[in-house]
Amino acid sequence: MGEEGTKGTVHLLCLAASSGVPLFCRSSRGGAPARQQLPFSVIGSLNGVHMFGQNLEVQLRSARTEDTTVVWKSFHDSITLIVLSSEEGTSELRLERLLQMVFGAMVLLVGLEELTNIRNVERLKKELRASYRLIDSFLGDSELIGDLTQCVDCVVPPEGSLLQEALSGFAEAAGTAFGSLVVSGRVVAATESWWRLGTPEAVLLPWLVGSLPPQAARDYPVYLPHGSPTVPHRLLTLTLLPGLELCLLCGPRPPLSQLDPQLLDRWWQPVLDPLRACVPLGPRALPAGFPLHMDILGLLLLHLELKRCLFTVEPSADQEPSPEHRRRLLRAFYTLVTASHFPPEPGSPEEKVEDAAQRSQVPRACYLVSGPEEPGTGWRLVALQSGPRRLLLLSAQSPTHALRGLATHTLHALTPLL
């Protein structure tokens, strides 16, 4: 195996737990899908150690080398997922959540029944091909962060209440309670019921919509990993404007044909202007003109109870570092503070086994200064926890002592939004 060649690659292996047959392998390198694959013998022994341990009632969870992390996870005693990542700054938390998302994606598209009760491996392999696109989007660099935070990526539209009203009315007219407006994988507005969707699918559905090639309308069968893993539902999508899609989750009825142009026009024509304003919102997440301090280069706001998050690296886009770099910094910082300090989000009890007794000392804020020694260079990252909200900021210039003030101020300004 090439030693130099593995730098920055992620390998994802999916095997049938009982037989050890590889179902698929996906790789990415430097954030883009790659063809490079692990040799079969390596796949075999990676699976072998895990199985060996399981037979002896020892569950192998992870292993680390100086630059690589490997995480094993088996689902329902039927599917084993292994991820081997040599990306810089990778962490177990990130990989474990990645595996959860990947399995969620498999269930979403194939159904739990197929996965737990494997009768025909070859057929399953073929069926799983449908999920490659979605899975690859987890492995590569994404503009979204829901895979890591397990919160739904949202944007804040300028006239949210209007859109909300139109959406509710339309969903009712279409005969379903589940409806949402999605712009490039981020939720603009959704009905009450849609927000109540369980953890994996709430993140996965918009993500899926964002990852599919653009089409005017789709009728897509999906299983809901949390809500209905064995009975498929229909995901109907209608492109209202380029990049802006209307999603409905429904049972056998109504057929797509019933959602005719008149119905659409009736509900959406009046709010066309607010809709138009949403389209460029995607990466910005916040409405134009929102007063953010000029020092802020990127922000991530999480609402841990609602399981929604705002993530943007758009502010002061003309400055260094590049948006991609900013995203990586924020992702890495999120992973760091979540893994080592902040209590895990509710709903992910399996993580963070350690120091539950420590809770009398509650972490509230956290900052990190990185970069070379010279003053005025490098990045400053600050995280602040307040109630259910957690805010992470990336800043370049702010002096250390102003970071907390900046974060507090920003959090206050953002509180009405999420």
């Binding site: 030693e3 022994s45 020892v58 680390r64 100086e66 760091l336 350690e354 009398s360 972490p363 509230r364």
Partner: protein, 927 residues
């Protein structure tokens, strides 16, 4: 005999025997004259091998020595249940029982064997010392110079002392009909004589007393330290054989503690069968018990139930011999819980092999789930051997485990040159798996161990200048190795060893070191793993002598520079000599070869060197009151207790005496603690105006209180007079400290400028002084809770002493300290990652390829802070919300001008600009 001109003999003609106890006093006075004998009594030892006293035997065949004797106070405290203590002193042929002396604190230990007298130098037992505190007279060990080298299998022996409680009164009914009955009934040891017992005219020709069995319920079994197969050598330091055991035991007059000395044959056997594994599991076990006292028993029981493991595996499997478990070179412990881990060693081996193939880097750790418990396993691979340590995640977080395995490997290499000859001490485990139900000092220890044990440094105690000078002088004198007529020069011989350097510990704090950093750390880690530092800190060592060959990395590293002009380390051998007396411990690194004569075989400790080290320690005895004063006196910089910052804390008033600042400001601490205030405080922070402190903090709190109910007094509410007074003091203080800093900056080490002249000042003056100079934070209150400053160039770190922490007892504070250390551990893990990256960058600088892919990580991190909130655990008042106190834990990494790490913990109310100040001040101090 060139190499050992002054080897000491163990036996001498009987006419030198102190005839009776009364003459022993006199002996003490004139052994000075006898010192000169030592040279002439060269190796008569072989003639008397069988009957050597146990402490002579402590020198092992490979020259190593680990001889430890606790002081009497300590031995007693370890065995507190003794009802009435009679001290029995045995001599060779008679047994003298002394009673009643105990109450006056006069005790007779079996200290005087005839030949010890001869070898004692004046330094070992000065007259003054001898007369003043008879109490402290300890056994003086004789160090045998092993002149006859044995080749072949290296046998490592250990001797252990076991204290058992015996009560002969119970036995009055039983008549001793059989021989050796007393041993059985009294002590609970069963020895079956092979031959019928016969009296032999010659001394010491009796049969060795092998423990064949233990009587259920007997004291021997209760002690848990006596194993079948051990050989009983001595009772209260009287050599025993099957011949005289009954006589010796029958002299025990009443219920008492008896010290039994055993030779541990188990270890010997094991090691002869597997000479490759040089380890002393059972021995260290005993040692541990000795070091930790009886608590260990309970702890060890707990430990056995937690799954943990240490394994040393070979990766080169001989497929021909399909012997079971052949790849395991060493494995510890043997318990059910760890059995499971052992059984899955295939995982570790496979991972180690495969991941290295796939990724090109070595595996460092992995995590398992066993019985619902997460267990981290750390790997250390060296050539074709693999060292594994597995510990539960809840006890030992991963970063700590990784530091630990690095340390262990380092120590092992230090001790044996490479991991190939491995041994393992448990000493590191129980310290970590320690239950925290113990006094506060202990707790501080346990909680700080998480971080401090992983630091590449030694705990340093700053000392006043004069004391420092004195220590330096003493050590320099020793290092000069000018021993006058005792030196080899006197005999016109080539010097045996060159003293490379020495370092002095007091109560576990490094107070003076003349060693390069790497050596110092090697030695410190060695001491830590053997538990020597805590031993010196908490228990007065009666006497400790350690001698062993070591392999310091600093000296053995092949020189990277091929230039022949460059200084090269001589191809010598290195020996570590540690001598401990009471709270002092002096570690000396010796070099043989180079300019000293080459070492041949496995030389044992040379008594002249040992004695000279002891002399040095005795010289320093006068200083220890000053050091103690420093240890207990108010620290610099001064600390606050977290509990003072909680409103409604009742201990506040009691503690105020130690906090002169707070005593004048009873109300201020309230300001920043009320939750309502806090929130608004956050919100009202003006982002752009950064007012200088302290007006900033007061401004903030004023704002906060507008919205709140005005819970506390803002600093403005302090009477003006006090305020002004303080301000003027503050400025004085800073001037003064500035000046002092200048003075001390020239020194390489860390003197405490603030204690230069004020040791003898009266209390109030001192308090003022402390206030003036030691407060690192700005603003009206002292808000510093704790700190750790690591200086990697010197290999030392500074942190508050145990005494300082003990003074700040409270309900919150211990938790805070614990949390601080855990948080620092994770901060440090981030820093370590940065350092790794920096190193890589430095390596790649030539081909500048690494710069592009570094964008995905946060490195290099230079500062990292976490804000915590805490509230009292038991808050009984239902109506009010518990008060909340917020504090920062901040770590900072300085790469330039030299590598330093600083971790501080301070109250939230401190103005952030003051943090910078604190950093700078520390920086100045450490320079």
């Amino acid at each position: 005999m060139m190499a050992s001109p002054i080897s000491c003999s163990s036996r001498h003609s009987p006419d030198e025997l102190p005839g009776d106890p009364s003459s022993q006093e006199d002996e003490d006075c004139d052994y000075e004259d006898r010192v000169s004998y030592s040279g002439s009594y060269s190796s008569a030892s072989s003639d008397y091998d069988e009957v050597e006293p146990e402490w002579l035997d402590s020198v092992q065949k490979n020259g190593e020595l680990f001889y430890l004797e606790l002081s009497e106070d300590e031995e007693e405290s370890l065995l507190p249940e003794t009802p009435t203590v009679n001290h029995v002193r045995f001599s060779e042929n008679e047994i003298i029982i002394e009673e009643d002396d105990y109450k006056e604190g006069k005790k007779y230990e079996p200290k005087l064997k005839r030949f010890t007298k001869i070898l004692k130098t004046k330094s070992l037992l000065p007259k003054r010392y001898n007369k003043k505190n008879r109490n402290d007279n300890e056994l003086v060990s004789i160090l045998k110079h092993q002149s006859n080298q044995k080749t072949g299998v290296v046998v490592q022996q250990r001797y252990k002392d076991v204290n058992v409680y015996v009560n002969p009164k119970k036995l009055t009914v039983t008549k001793a009909k059989e021989q050796l009955k007393l041993l059985e009934v009294l002590v609970g040891i069963i020895h079956q004589s092979k031959w019928s017992w016969k009296k032999s005219g010659k001394q010491g020709s009796g049969e060795r007393l092998v423990v064949h069995g233990l009587l259920p319920g007997g004291s021997a079994m209760k002690s848990g330290q006596i194993l079948i197969g051990d050989v009983l050598l001595a009772v209260n330091d009287v050599d025993v054989t099957s011949e005289n055991i009954e006589r010796v035991l029958s002299c025990i007059p009443g219920p008492m503690q008896v010290k039994l000395t055993f030779e541990n044959t188990y270890a010997v056997k094991k090691e002869t069968t597997q000479p490759r594994q040089k380890k002393a599991q059972s021995n260290t076990n005993d040692l541990v018990k000795l070091l930790w006292g009886e608590e260990v028993e309970g702890i060890q029981q707990n430990i056995l139930n937690t799954p943990h493991i240490v394994m040393y595996l070979t990766l080169q499997l001989d497929s021909e011999t399909s012997k079971e478990e052949q790849e395991i070179l060493y494995h510890c412990p043997v318990s059910d819980a760890s059995q499971k881990l052992k059984s899955v060693r295939g995982i570790f081996l496979t991972l180690c092999d495969m991941l290295e193939n796939v990724t090109g880097t070595q595996v460092t750790s992995s995590s398992l789930l066993l019985n619902g418990k997460q267990i981290h396993v750390a790997y250390w691979k060296e050539s074709d051997k693999l060292l594994l340590i597995g510990l539960p995640a809840e006890e030992v977080p991963l970063p700590q485990l990784r530091n630990m395995i690095g340390d262990v490997a380092q120590t092992l290499k230090f001790m044996y040159g490479s991991l190939d000859s491995l041994f393992f001490q448990r000493a590191l485990q129980p310290a970590k798996l320690h239950s925290s139900a113990s006094p506060s000092a202990r707790q501080y220890d346990a909680s700080s161990a998480v971080l401090l044990d992983g630091l590449p440094g030694v705990r340093w105690l700053t000392l006043p200048q004069e004391i420092k000078m004195e220590l330096d002088t003493a050590l320099s004198d020793l290092e000069a190795a000018d021993f006058a007529e005792l030196s080899e020069d006197y005999y016109d011989m080539r010097r045996l060893y060159t003293i490379l350097g020495s370092s002095l510990f007091y109560k576990g704090y490094l107070i003076c070191s003349h060693l390069p950093k790497d050596d110092l750390i090697d030695i410190a880690v060695y001491c830590r793993h053997y538990g020597l530092l805590p031993l010196a800190a908490k228990q007065r060592i009666g006497q400790l002598v350690i001698w062993r060959e070591v392999f310091p990395r600093h000296h053995l590293q092949p020189s990277a520079d091929s230039n022949t002009e460059v200084f090269r380390e001589p191809e010598g051998r290195y020996f570590l000599l540690i001598v401990g007396l009471k709270y002092y411990m002096l570690c000396v690194l010796l070099e043989a070869g180079g300019c000293a004569s080459k070492a041949v075989g496995n030389p044992g400790p040379d008594c002249i060197y040992v004695d000279q080290v002891k002399t040095t320690l005795h010289q320093l005895e006068g200083i220890d009151c000053h050091i103690n004063e420093r240890l207990t006196s108010s620290p610099s910089p001064c600390l606050s207790c977290a509990d003072w910052f909680l409103t409604g804390s009742h201990e506040k008033l009691d503690n105020l005496t130690t906090s002169p600042i707070l005593s004048r400001l009873p109300g201020t601490s309230k300001v920043a603690t009320s939750p309502t205030c806090r929130r608004i405080l956050f919100g009202d922070y003006s982002l752009k105006t950064r007012k200088p402190s302290p007006s900033r903090s007061s401004g903030g709190s004023d704002n906060g209180c507008e919205g709140g109910e005005g819970v506390g007094l803002s600093p403005h509410a302090i009477p003006n007079a006090v305020w002004k007074q303080r301000e003027s003091q503050g400025s004085d203080g800073s001037e003064e400290s500035g000046a002092l800093l200048k003075v001390t900056k020239k020194k390489a080490t860390l003197p405490n400028p603030f204690h230069l002249g004020n040791l003898k000042k009266d209390l109030s003056e001192k308090e003022l002084e402390i206030y003036n100079t030691m407060k690192l934070t700005s603003g009206p209150e002292n808000t510093l809770f704790h700190y750790v400053a690591l200086e990697t160039v010197q290999g030392i770190f500074i942190t508050p002493t145990h005494e300082e922490v003990a003074q700040l007892s409270g309900s919150i504070h211990p938790q805070l300290i614990k949390n601080f250390h855990q948080c620092c551990l994770s901060i440090r893990a981030v820093f370590q990652q940065t350092l790794v990256e920096e190193k890589k960058k430095a390596l790649n600088r030539g081909d500048h390829s690494g710069s592009t892919n570094s964008i995905s990580s946060l490195n290099p991190v230079k500062e990292y802070g976490v804000l915590f909130e805490c509230s009292p655990e038991k808050w009984t008042d239902q109506r009010k919300a518990p008060p909340v106190m917020a504090y920062w834990v901040v770590g900072r990494l300085f790469l330039h001008p030299k590598l330093q790490e600083l971790y501080v913990c301070f109250h939230d109310s401190v103005t952030e600009i003051a943090i910078e100040m604190a950093f700078k001040l520390f920086f100045g101090l450490t320079l």
